[in-house]
C-alpha cells in the first residue's frame, strides 16, 4: 500500500507520520508538497499535524485552499482512506469534509501529554484492529482541539456511529461529548486530535497508534489484493 503525507508550509509532524508508515508499518510512503497536481498513485492520504500557514486566521483555514486539496477531495470521493491528525483534522473541518469546527482549548493552554482514548467504534477501516471499547494511550499536542458542532450534527454523528474516539477519564480540551475523532458518512475520512503516529514504538511510551495504521492496510489489502 502506498501512502502520501501531504506537507504544507508549517507542517511539523510530517516526519513522524513518514517514520510511522515507513519504519514501523513497513509500507511505502512519499512526502507530497501542498501544490501537487495529482494524488492518483496513492492508496491512502495522510494530513499531518503542525501549523499549516502559521495557523493564521484560523487553524487549517488557509491550507484548505491549497492546490492539493482539490486532489484530496477527489481521493475522498474515490473512497480512499484519508486520515487527518491534529492540524490535519482542523484542515478537514475547514474543508467541510468533516462537520463541525475547532475552538481554542477550554483552558486556553497548549496541551502536550499522553491521554487515554476509548475506541468507540471498531467497525471502521481505521479501527478494525482494536477491540470495541478498548482504552488506548495516545499523545495529544494542541492549542485548538476543542471540537464543536451543533446539537443536530452531534445527534447525526451518534446515530451514524461516527464518533470513533472519545477521551476517557478526563477531557483535555473541553470538546463536545468528549469527542477526540470522527469519520465522515462514507467512513473513509477520519479526523482526530491525538497523534497515533507518535505512538508506534514502546520507546515513545506507547505503540497503541500502530493498530490504526495496520487497520488501514488490512482494509486496503482485503479490498485490493487479488490472490494469484
Amino acid at each position: 500500500m502506498k501512502f502520501a503525507v501531504i506537507v504544507f508550509p508549517g507542517s511539523n509532524c510530517d516526519v513522524d507520520m513518514y517514520h510511522a508508515i515507513k519504519d514501523e508499518l513497513g509500507e511505502e510512503v512519499d512526502y507530497i508538497w501542498h501544490d501537487a497536481d495529482s494524488l492518483d498513485q496513492y492508496d491512502g492520504i495522510l494530513l499531518p499535524g503542525g501549523f499549516s500557514y502559521g495557523d493564521y486566521l484560523r487553524s487549517g483555514a488557509i491550507a484548505r485552499f491549497s492546490n492539493v486539496m482539490k486532489e484530496l477531495i477527489k481521493a475522498t470521493e474515490a473512497g480512499k482512506p484519508v486520515l487527518g491528525v491534529c492540524n490535519g483534522f482542523q484542515i478537514l473541518l475547514e474543508a467541510g469534509l468533516l462537520p463541525g469546527a475547532m475552538r481554542r482549548n477550554e483552558s486556553l493552554k497548549f496541551i502536550c501529554r499522553p491521554v487515554k482514548l476509548k475506541v468507540n467504534e471498531n467497525e471502521t477501516m481505521f479501527t478494525s484492529a482494536y477491540e470495541k471499547g478498548e482504552v488506548i494511550t495516545i499523545p495529544v499536542a494542541h492549542g485548538e482541539g476543542n471540537y464543536y458542532c451543533d446539537e443536530a450534527t452531534l445527534q447525526t454523528l451518534k446515530e451514524q456511529n461516527r464518533i470513533v474516539f472519545t477521551y476517557e477519564g478526563s477531557n483535555p480540551n473541553g470538546s463536545i461529548a468528549d469527542i477526540a475523532g470522527i469519520v465522515n458518512e462514507q467512513g473513509n475520512v477520519l479526523g482526530m486530535m491525538p497523534h497515533p503516529e507518535r505512538a508506534v514504538d514502546t520507546l515513545l511510551g506507547s505503540r497503541d497508534g500502530l493498530k490504526l495504521f495496520k487497520s488501514i492496510v488490512h482494509h486496503w489489502r482485503e479490498s485490493h489484493v487479488i490472490n494469484a
Binding site: 475547514e94 463541525g100 469546527a101 475552538r103 477550554e106 486556553l108 476543542n146 464543536y148 451543533d150
Partner: protein
C-alpha cells in the same frame, strides 16, 4: 477604491474562552460591572476598483475564508474612497 473593515466574533451560542479569561481579569481589576467580553478579529481589506458588486464580494470572502460560519459571526463596513 474601497476600504473594508471586517469584524469576526464567535457566535453568541459558542463559549468564548478568551473572552471569559479577559472578563475574569477585568473583574479582578475591580471592573465588576463588565458582564460579558467577546474577543474577536478585526481585518482591513483594501479593494481596488472592481466591476463586481463589492458587498457581494465581501460577503463571499467572509463566508469562504475570513470567518468560519460554523462557529463565527461577522459584520463589515464598506467605505468608498479615492486613491491618494
Amino acid at each position: 477604491m474601497y476600504k473594508v473593515k471586517v469584524f469576526v466574533t464567535l457566535r453568541e451560542s459558542v463559549l468564548d474562552p478568551q473572552g471569559v479569561a479577559v472578563k475574569h481579569s477585568l473583574h479582578s481589576m475591580d471592573y465588576k460591572d463588565v458582564s460579558d467580553v467577546r474577543v474577536g478579529k478585526y481585518m482591513e481589506l483594501t479593494i481596488e476598483k472592481t466591476e463586481k458588486d463589492v458587498e457581494e464580494q465581501v460577503k463571499e470572502m467572509c463566508n469562504r475564508l475570513l470567518a468560519n460560519p460554523v462557529i463565527e459571526d461577522y459584520r463589515y463596513e464598506i467605505e468608498e474612497c479615492v486613491a491618494q
